[in-house]
C-alpha cells in the first residue's frame, strides 16, 4: 500500500510534466486542427534555454525558468510564422510534414550549438524529503505545484479573459472568428506563444528532475500526443486528464508488468480507451476530424 502511494505520486509527477506539454499541443490542435509534431522539440529548446541561463549566465533558477518560457514563446511564434502559416490553406498533411521537418531542424541546431553531451542543471541541495511513506524532491514538488498553478492560470485565461475567449472561439470555428472581427493570425500567434511557453516549462522541469539531451523532445511529443488524443482532441482539459492518466498508468503498471513493456502499457491503455470511446474521453463525435486532408 505504501509503495502504491509512492507509485501514484511518481505517476502524478510524470503526469504533471506531460500535462504541461499536452495543453499547448491541444491548444495548437484546437486552433489549426493539425498535430504539431515539433512540440516536443520546442520543449527541448526551452529546457536548453533554461539550462544555458542557469549554468552559463548565472541567472537564478526562477527567473531563468520564466525567461526560458518567454524566449521559447518567441520561438513558437516564429516557427508558426515560417513553417505553418504559409500552409494554412494547404492539406493538413503538408503542415504535418513541416512540423516533422521543424523538429529535425531544432534537434540538429541544439546538437550543433550545445553538443550531444548529456547535460544537467547540477542543482545543489536537492535532497529528497520523506513525507510519511513517500519520498519527494523539491524539483518534483515544483513539478506538481507548477503544473497545478499553470493549469489553474490557463483555466482563468481561457474562461475569464477576452484573449482566452477568442482562443476558444478560434478553436470552435476559425472563419466565424474571422468574420466576427477577430484577428485570427494574432490569436494563433498567441496560442503558439502560450503553448510553447508551457512546453518550455515542461522541458525545463524534466531537465531539472533528470537531465537534458538534444533528442529529449521526441518522447515528450509522443507522450503529449497520446495524452491529447486520449483526452479528446482539441479539448484542453481532456488533455490534462489524459496526461495524468498516462503518467499514473505507466508508473503503477510497471509494478505488475516488466518495465520493458512500459510504453506498451501506455499505448495499450490508450488503444483500449479509444476502443471504448472512439473520440477520446471528452471529445465530441463531430470533432473527430480527419487531419489528412
Amino acid at each position: 500500500m505504501e509503495i502504491f502511494v509512492q507509485l501514484l505520486i511518481n505517476g502524478v509527477i510524470a503526469g504533471g510534466t506531460y500535462a504541461l506539454a499536452a495543453v499547448g499541443y491541444s491548444m495548437v490542435y484546437g486552433a489549426l486542427k493539425f498535430i504539431n509534431f515539433a512540440h516536443g522539440s520546442i520543449a527541448m529548446v526551452g529546457a536548453y534555454i533554461a539550462f544555458v541561463l542557469v549554468t552559463m549566465a548565472d541567472v537564478p533558477l526562477v527567473p531563468a525558468f520564466l525567461g526560458s518560457m518567454l524566449l521559447t514563446a518567441g520561438l513558437g511564434v516564429m516557427v508558426e510564422r515560417v513553417a505553418y502559416r504559409p500552409l494554412r490553406r494547404a492539406p493538413k498533411l503538408a503542415s504535418l510534414t513541416t512540423a516533422i521537418a521543424v523538429s529535425f531542424v531544432l534537434d540538429a541546431a541544439v546538437m550543433i550549438i550545445m553538443g550531444a553531451d548529456i547535460r544537467t542543471f547540477s542543482l545543489t541541495g536537492m535532497r529528497s524529503y520523506q513525507i510519511g511513506p513517500i519520498y519527494i524532491t523539491p524539483v518534483q514538488g515544483a513539478i506538481i505545484l507548477t503544473s497545478l498553478v499553470f493549469m489553474v492560470g490557463l483555466y482563468g485565461l481561457l474562461t475569464r479573459t477576452k484573449l482566452g475567449k477568442a482562443i476558444r472561439a478560434v478553436a470552435d470555428g476559425i472563419s466565424l472568428a474571422e468574420v466576427s472581427g477577430i484577428d485570427t493570425n494574432l490569436i494563433i500567434s498567441a496560442v503558439f506563444a502560450i503553448g510553447s511557453a508551457l512546453a518550455a516549462a515542461s522541458g525545463a522541469l524534466i531537465g531539472m528532475d533528470t537531465n537534458l539531451q538534444p533528442t529529449m523532445g521526441f518522447i515528450i511529443t509522443v507522450k503529449a500526443f497520446a495524452a491529447v488524443v486520449l483526452g479528446g482532441l482539441g479539448n484542453v482539459w481532456g488533455a490534462v486528464v489524459g496526461a495524468f492518466l498516462i503518467g499514473i498508468v505507466e508508473n503503477t503498471g510497471v509494478w505488475f508488468i516488466p518495465p520493458v513493456w512500459k510504453d506498451s502499457i501506455a499505448y495499450g491503455i490508450l488503444i483500449l480507451a479509444l476502443f471504448l470511446r472512439p473520440s477520446g474521453i471528452f471529445g465530441k463525435k463531430e470533432e473527430a476530424q480527419v487531419t489528412v486532408l
Binding site: 490553406r89 477576452k162 475567449k165 477568442a166 476558444r168 472561439a169 478553436a171 470552435d172 470555428g173 472563419s175 466565424l176 472568428a177 474571422e178 468574420v179 466576427s180 472581427g181 477577430i182 484577428d183 485570427t184 493570425n185
Partner: protein, 243 residues
Amino acid sequence: MSAANASDRTILEVHQLVAGYGKSEVLHGVSLEVAAGEIVTMVGANGAGKSTLLRSIFGLTDIHGGVIKFKGTVITGLPPHAITAHGLALVPQERNVFPSLTVRENLEMGGFTVDRATLEERIERVFERFPRLRERQRQKAGTLSGGERQMLAIGRGLMTSPELLMLDEPSLGLAPKIVEAVFEQIRLIREGGTTVFLVEQNARRALAIADRAYVLELGRIRHQGSGQELLNDPEVQRAYLGG
C-alpha cells in the same frame, strides 16, 4: 424604396467578381449592388455559388478577378476581420455560432472590437430582441435548439452594429413557425436602419420580403429586378418557386 434611386446610395458594389477555391472557379463574373436601407435577396439553386459569393465578399475565398467596394472603398483582398471593421457583418449558413462558448460569450466574441461599455449595451439590445437568449445566456451554444441557434447567430452578427448585415440561408432546417419568426426579425432589423443582404433557397419567402433581388445560376447572375417582379417572372417561377 425602388430600384431606380438605389444607385445614389449604393453601399455595396460588386463588379465582375471571379472567385472560387484554389484553382476551381465558382463565380464567373458576378456584379451586383446594394443600396443603403434595402433588403436585397439572392436566390438560386444549390451549388449556384450563393454562399461562395458571401464568403468572397468577406475575403474567405480565393479571388481571381473583379472589385468589391463598400461605401466607395475597395475591400477586395482585405482579411475578414478588417472587412468587419468597415461595417459589414456576415451570418454564415452553418457553423454560425461557437458551440463550446456560452451564449453570452458568443455575443462578446461578436463584438470583439467593441469597448466594454458599448458591448454590455449591445448585448442588452440583443437580449431585448431575443428574450430566449437572455434565459440561456450561461448555456453553451452547442446545446441550443436550431431556432435559438439561428437567433444567436443573428444576434452575434448584430454585435458590431453593422451597416450591412449579410445572412446566408437563415431559414435552413428550421420549423415553419420559426422561419416565420426569423423573417419577421429580418424586417425589424431593416427597420432599425441596417441594410440586409439575404441569400436564400426558400425563394418565395425571400422574394416576398425583398426590395430587390438577384437570381444566381452556375456562378452567373441570370435575373434581377424587384422582389415582386421576380416573383411574377414565369421563368423564375418555374425554376425556383415550384411552378
